[in-house]
Amino acid sequence: MRRIISILLENEPGALSRVVGLFSQRGYNIETLNVAPTEDATLSRLTLTTIGDDRTIEQITKQLNKLVDVVKLVDLTEGAHIERDLMLIKVRASGGAARDEVKRTTDIFRGQIVDVGPNVYTIQLVGTGEKLDAFVAAMAEAEILEVVRSGVAGIARGEKVLRL
């Protein structure tokens, strides 16, 4: 089963490598990984998605908690949550018909064209991983030149917070 694990990590050199190293060392998978500073300069927020059965996920969360640099973590998939992935996708768009088709599909998915060239469009799209996958599939007719995704960032719904 796919899980979204959200981690508050000490903003220390080497902290990220300990998290990533743990996954390779113990044979766990990382599907996506997203990390950036928070409002507190001493902390980073890291969101990763992984796939495993309940026992594997339990071991993963326990092993992560054991890392000295991990301050707190939560498995967001255990409750209601919001997940967002950001994609930048560059597609070939030459000629009126092709350009119109790309524009139409982008509108349907509520994406934005953020850069325009004589032969290319760069589209920005935000949503769940599933939505992004669907968009890529919908673009099958067009020539995709580049896909960049941020990886999932997630947060719990309602009052529940992950903080010190």
Partner: protein, 579 residues
């Protein structure tokens, strides 16, 4: 005001460090100079950095105090890696100070540069790199705190040379206490879980207490022994846990696992309740996990939550320090028995003991001879002789292989911290430097290193360190002219093809070698001279003695788990007999 190097020297003193095991080199020369000028802590100069870590490790296992290692950058640091991994696998507290090239050179492939924090990452509990010299005292305090609390383990501090330069001085304050917001190991077990555990434990009809290295490390041997005696429950120890329960006691079943005793493995397999304390259901214990102890409910006490239900699912997990959990558990057990004097079921317990005694009589190690006859000395006889010569009170270190298993089976450890071996990583070359560490800690005690020709040659250069620091340990070399355990597996699984497991005629004359270092070497070839030579060796209190004991090279270690797909109860009992 102190320089970075001086702060390191002072901080180690303030931490109460008794010995530093190390080897100087370019990146740590400022630190060495500071130690030379001001430190009262004796430094032990080894002959290879791996031995520094093993010596510190042996010191720690014998005393319970964290070991300290100081090595230079690059090869100094990489040579220490095997010893750090050894300590990590067996949860041994250790602080390793490694030199690093100057900050401005890091990343430039400078002379003797290597990314020690990166290389050691999977084998340390935590690591630090000094970025500002003024952080050194707090960092050292944190390192000792992390290494020694919770589930102990090694911590590396990587120190760029410029952080220790003598001309940059800082105010030195060694912190009294340390608080790390992201690190708070459990202090007590969950009361509700402990009550449930007490109830289950008292309902048992066929109980076994299975205790591991955590009981030794957690200083809980007395508590465990008391609880087991109060209940009259049988106890088995893991390789790491030997000595936690008295080895010669009636309730002791011996070691369990791959080379565990028949009665210990049979009792485990047939148990209805297993109390696992400070043990981690290692693959060398469980054999095939899906067939592990089919009828047993499992109570698992451990300080490390990741050890619980990692391989074998626990029915009642309890996370906490074994000392505090066992105290609470004993109290709950006492309360429940006060209310109901019938607990536990004495009739069932009596039948269980009868069953165990039948197993003991049938294939137990102590009822009848369990090894073959030979013109030559049998390895088991050597360990029995060692036990007699030392009154069972020696600190026994070992290397890795057949000799290690014979020592674990036949030296009946009655006290914790006397059995010092590399259990998890299985590091050949561990025994001699570990014996040095134990001897430094307890100069008056008998310290024996049980080894073989393969292992001893992996750190034999330390004979020179023993000369320099006058460390009269006794080396018991079980000489069979093979890599014995490799040979055993080749005999059993590769139709006796001994691929690269013999030295042919290349072994040195160990007697002459000992003399070259200023030690004493003795050969033993006949059984009737074994005891006398053993006693003679231990009577030479101020000499390192190497006993080169020629044993039957054909002997295998038994029992041995049948693998793959065997259960705890499936064992080879001799070359042609299995359960």
């Amino acid at each position: 005001m102190l320089s970075g190097g001086e702060m390191i020297a002072r901080a180690l003193e303030d931490e109460g460090v008794e010995f530093i095991f190390g080897y100087p080199g370019g990146a740590v020369l400022h630190i060495y100079d500071a130690l030379f000028k001001a430190s009262k802590i004796p430094h032990v100069l080894v002959r290879h950095e791996q031995a520094a870590t093993h010596a510190a490790d042996g010191y720690t296992r014998a005393t319970g105090k964290p070991g300290v290692v100081l090595v230079t950058s690059g090869p100094g640091a990489t040579n220490a890696v095997t010893g750090i991994a050894t300590a990590y696998m067996d949860s041994i507290p250790m602080v390793v100070l490694s030199g690093q090239v100057a900050s401005h050179l890091i990343g430039e492939d400078a002379f003797q540069e290597c990314d020690m924090v990166g290389i050691s990452r999977p084998i340390v509990k935590h690591s630090f790199m000094v970025r500002k010299p003024e952080d050194i005292p707090a960092m050292i305090k944190k390192a000792f705190h992390i290494a020694t609390t919770g589930r102990p383990g090694p911590v590396v501090i990587d120190i760029p040379k410029d952080a220790t330069r003598p001309d940059a001085k800082f105010e030195y304050v060694y912190p009294d206490a340390v608080k790390i917001r992201s690190y708070s190991p459990a202090q007590r077990g969950h009361t509700g879980q402990i009550k449930k555990a007490a109830r289950l434990l008292l309902s048992a009809k066929r109980p076994v207490i299975y205790s591991g290295g955590g009981v030794v490390q957690g200083e809980a041997s007395e508590l465990l022994t008391q609880l087991a005696r109060d209940l009259n429950y049988p106890v088995t120890n893991t390789l790491m846990g030997l000595g936690a329960y008295p080895g010669t006691d009636r309730q002791f079943l011996g070691m369990l696992g791959m080379h565990g005793l028949y009665e210990a493995n049979m009792a485990m397999h047939n148990a209805d309740v297993i109390l696992a304390v400070g043990a981690r259901f290692d693959d060398r214990v469980t054999n095939t996990v899906s067939k592990f102890c089919p009828g047993a409910k499992i109570i698992h006490i451990d300080i490390d939550p990741t050890s619980i239900s990692k391989t074998v699912q626990a029915d009642i997990p309890i996370v906490g320090p074994v000392q505090s959990v066992l105290t609470d558990l004993a109290e709950q057990v006492a309360q429940m028995r006060n209310k109901d004097a019938e607990l536990p079921d004495q009739g069932a317990l009596e039948r269980w003991w009868q069953q165990i005694d039948e197993w003991r009589a049938k294939h137990g190690l102590w009822s009848g001879r369990r090894y073959g006859e030979s013109e030559m000395i049998m390895p088991q006889q050597v360990i029995e002789s060692l036990f007699r010569a030392t009154g069972g009170n020696a600190y026994v270190t070992s290397d890795v292989g057949q000799h290690q298993m014979f020592a674990a089976q036949y030296y009946r450890f009655n006290h914790p911290r006397r059995w010092i071996n590399s259990g998890g990583l299985g590091t050949m070359g561990f025994g001699l430097p570990a014996a040095m560490g134990a001897k430094l800690a307890f100069p008056e005690a008998d310290v024996a290193c049980v080894t073989g020709e393969g292992s001893i040659q992996m750190n034999i250069q330390e004979l020179s360190t023993c000369t320099q620091y006058n460390l009269p340990v006794k080396i018991i070399n079980l000489r069979n002219n093979y890599l014995g355990m490799v040979k055993q597996w080749q005999d059993m699984q590769y139709e006796g093809r001994h691929a690269m497991s013999t030295y042919e005629d290349s072994l040195p004359d160990f007697i002459k070698l000992m003399e070259a270092y200023g030690h004493v070497g003795m050969q033993v070839r006949k059984l009737d001279e074994l005891d006398a030579k053993m006693e003679e060796a231990f009577a030479m209190k101020d000499k390192l003695v190497f006993l080169d004991i020629f044993i039957d090279p054909m002997e295998h270690v038994y029992p041995m788990h049948v693998a793959p797909n065997g259960a705890m109860k499936d064992m080879w009992l001799s070359k042609n007999e299995r359960t």
